[in-house]
Symmetry: D2
């Protein structure tokens, strides 16, 4: 049994960490912080947790020493505070974008200047399918972006076959925008949308490039869903056929507990569909190929708050602690939903 603290427990990623960690048999959640809601019950804003916990939010400075600390939002505005809080955890998980890129130049282009660029490159990426071995001993783990995770897992098996630029079309539900009120996220404005909020060069393309070695151009659209990410990656190959691609996917993911290869001939769910992944830690990946033209479509789908965030973090924790990787992540998703 280890003790964990969550810095920033009031948002959607914080709520999802609470859901998963409160149900984890090896974990005791000792603190969830919220500057704004300190003293209030965590099940106020996370009503699904009623009956599951009596915890109340504490102020960040009240965070005790813990076996593991999870940060849900950026610490760039106050690096000293972040360093102080990070020092209270033996293992630190950062779910913000602060540490996702290794190159300070690249970071600046997408996020602005980093106040402590010496930290870039010091974290292990919390993506077990690529970095499992390093995660076993990591003390600083940076969880990748939700759309980046889906794209990396969809592209990785065939990265060597790809010729030229990959274009990534990401689609994401409203929970990806967080729990803060903004006019753009009002139900009346967000319902039914196909909002191209990043027509070119979405930030996650840097992460995808970094992990796959590919040249990536990424577009992102907000869709009418609360949870869910789907990425469509287009690429050309010098030479493709369906059997080769399928074999590559199978080889990469045969032993992965949370990646399923979904590329069937028929059926409503023959390709990866986030609708059936809500609450689940699965990332489904699939593909279509046209041998005549050499084009491929590589698809990934996941729940942005689970495999795209909190679930990935918990899976990484399980690896770091030497537990069964699936612990606390058994929920299979609903159909229909």
């Amino acid at each position: 049994m280890i003790s964990v603290g969550i810095v920033g427990g009031a948002g959607y990623i914080g709520g999802e960490l609470l859901r998963l960690l409160l149900g984890h048999p090896e974990v005791r959640v000792v603190a969830a912080t919220s500057t704004r809601l300190a003293g209030r019950r965590v099940d106020g804003g996370h009503p699904n947790l009623r009956g599951r916990t009596d915890l109340s939010y504490s102020r960040p400075d009240q965070l005790p020493e813990c076996d593991a600390v999870f940060f849900t939002s950026s610490g760039l505005e106050d690096p000293a505070l972040r360093a102080d809080l990070a020092g209270r955890g033996k293992v630190v998980f950062d779910l913000s974008s602060d540490l996702r890129l290794g190159d300070p130049q690249l970071f600046r282009r997408h996020y602005g200047a980093h106040p402590t660029p010496e930290l870039l490159g010091t974290a292990v990426t919390g993506l077990p399918e690529l970095y499992r071995d390093r995660l076993r001993t990591a003390d600083l783990i940076s969880v990748p972006g939700c759309m980046a995770t889906a794209a990396i897992l969809a592209l990785r098996p065939v990265a060597d076959l790809i010729d030229g630029v990959v274009t990534v079309d990401g689609r994401v539900g409203s929970s990806g925008s967080g729990a803060s009120a903004g006019e753009m996220n009002l139900h009346a404005e967000r319902s039914g949308v196909l909002r191209v909020f990043a027509p070119l060069n979405h930030r996650h393309q840097a992460e995808i490039s970094q992990a796959t070695g590919l040249a990536v151009r990424m577009t992102a659209t907000g869709v009418d869903a609360v949870r869910g990410v789907q990425v469509l990656c287009r690429a050309d190959a010098r030479q493709v056929d369906e059997a080769t691609i399928r074999a590559a996917y199978r080889r990469h993911y045969a032993d992965e507990p949370f990646v399923r290869v979904v590329a069937q001939k028929r059926g409503n769910y023959r390709l990866p569909e986030p609708k059936i992944l809500l609450g689940s830690n699965h990332c489904d990946v699939g593909f279509a190929v046209d041998p005549d033209s050499g084009q491929m479509l590589l698809i990934g789908a996941l729940d942005n708050l689970v495999k795209g965030g909190a679930g990935n973090a918990v899976q990484s924790l399980n690896i770091r602690m030497g537990w069964d990787e699936r612990t606390g992540l058994e929920f299979t998703g609903l159909h229909p939903a």
Copy 2:
């Protein structure tokens, strides 16, 4: 051709008035005010109006003299300003709840003390089906609440038959909460809800009582729709049969251009359904009766921003000006939608 001004043009009711009045052949919109957005184009926040108008918002104090002025929100916080602005219109339409109730006591119970109670009872209610004759000469018109309009039109034909208390179950989409950002209206929180925001004694029950003479108890639920109101009214009758009720509805609404009696034996749309009324000025009303037990269910449906607000106001304007009542309100609604 008359000149009209809209005080409070930036909200959803303001946008709907603009949509209807900009398309009205007898009307010229000379001003739409917004304190916050003065100087900005009205098609910025109302993107459906692109290409339809080049109007920009003006400050309220810039409102010119107009043939008609429409107020979209309450003036109770500054009665002197409201009186000043109202004085600039020959005919005044108030779409807020300020003037909907005639009795100061009742107003206080539901809305708090009225700063100028002497105004209560001075407006004609902008509900043509009940007050058409008075509207022909009215200079101050108070447009009723969206759920109240649906319930009044559903109940009116059978009000004399009802024995005892009527219970009203109102359901309403998110546009009824207005365009201001609030955490409760975030897409992630509002999507998929059945939010019982008024379990007992919703404010509109006072309006319904006032118009029908019935004792009313009203509940209201926010549902996952942007537009749309539906009310289910339960009542008992000393004696009911289907033919009597149908005849009463037909008699009341035979000549009404915007009320349809929908009470069929079969079909997906056999009873009033707001889904097919989006953008339309129709209020559909229908009923079911059980002669054995004497119970009736009386149903009304409309688009809260049209027949439940801006459309009702324009219909009242048409009557006041002596035009064909349907002018500018011809849109029939979409199916499917």
Copy 3:
């Protein structure tokens, strides 16, 4: 470890039984039948189960002897077949409406003549909160209707206080209509609806009366959700105050693992909301009272496929087998979702 068979595994209730029972540590699913899909994999139509099972459908006549058999649909068309299949299970769960009512007259009024009326009254109702003791030894268990379950649990604590008729307003998502294609359930027709499919005397009113002893009148509306039931029950009491009602609810449900009393002063989720219950076996119940008028609103919410069906059945199984009642039902629900 017991063996279970599911007769009718291809529908939505069948899929939900599979999801819950495949994840249940004490259960082995030995057969799921489907006449239409015999020989096909169960994860074809239930894609959330990919990676969880390699089971394929068998024909009903291939059902082996099992410790428990679950029927998901009516057996009235072929009572002999049903009796044969039921005989293959030591304990039988019927999730259809076949055995829900005890009175043949009442059954006939709502469902038509029962071919084997002598079976009515022989099953124990699979509603643990009311019938836990009898369930410990029951060999034939009839799981109640989804809206009936919500209404019974909402009404039960205050049934003794109620004076006169209760009206029940049920709202239900599209999964309640089953997985069979019908034009009425097309997305384009069903999306955004408030479809009053039962304006008066919905069938479940008989079940609610039977369990509570109250006179019930029930209306039902299909809403734009896939899963979810909410019931609003209106009743009058000779004498009510908030503290008495709250105490009654707490007393009834203090020790219940799956009923939460939700009646708070503020917050988006201050009353029962199905949105946060998807996939969970909870039934949330709450209330509002107006001491002046004596009116009460009693609210229940649940996931129609879980606590309103498959989850209730598994909870009853757990009781029958003497296991911890929560086994296999730990999923807490998602927020946001």
Copy 4:
């Protein structure tokens, strides 16, 4: 006043033609055919038309001679019948895919062998923005596909600048699948989806190539909307800058009544969004460019049943008859909706 007949009036495109033509001041609808529903009222399945018409369906063979005939579905199964019916109209509009491609080889690849290939190339494409002059005298008009229309209008202004292959990512609501019941279109299955139903080589790519001269690769996804199409077209240019692209769009569409250029710096609706186009005949087009990399994203949005089908047909009719092009198509779309 001309007489028109609609062959296939019961589907969604048929309903939309009825909505538009019944409201058209120069048109009298004399027949709407439906083999299945002959004798039944057209407002049965199109409930938004209640009060607008008393028309009932006739059998196809009852179609009278008309000034214009509209076909909503394919006639390839019975070419003789189609020729007979087409002969009853002075001007014929075909809204199916029968005549959209000019090349029999290409047709075969996407749709199978054409029984009367000599008809291919004989129709004028009903896309006023490209073929207005030819439409003035056309007697056979083939209305293009919904996603094709959006993509063609988005690509046309910059087609000369494009270097290499264009990839098109189409998204479409459920009404695009038609009014026939199929399990894949059940609400429970279709709600919340991101269904990649055409991962590569969607049929419409042939139409887009034919109209633009570009090499096109097209993917299509079904999204959770009833109406609406959006296409994202990626292309590279030898040399791009924002001013050049904007000027090209403005030049092409300055005088077009139904194409708006939407490419703003900020705002929720700064790029084309189908949500605000429901019921409207507008196609909004917009773009983003990255001069550094030479990449462009070109976006089109429309209502698939209006500008993507029935509205385009009516606009073409207006041109053919010499009427104001906007007649009967004035509805501006709703916000919010």
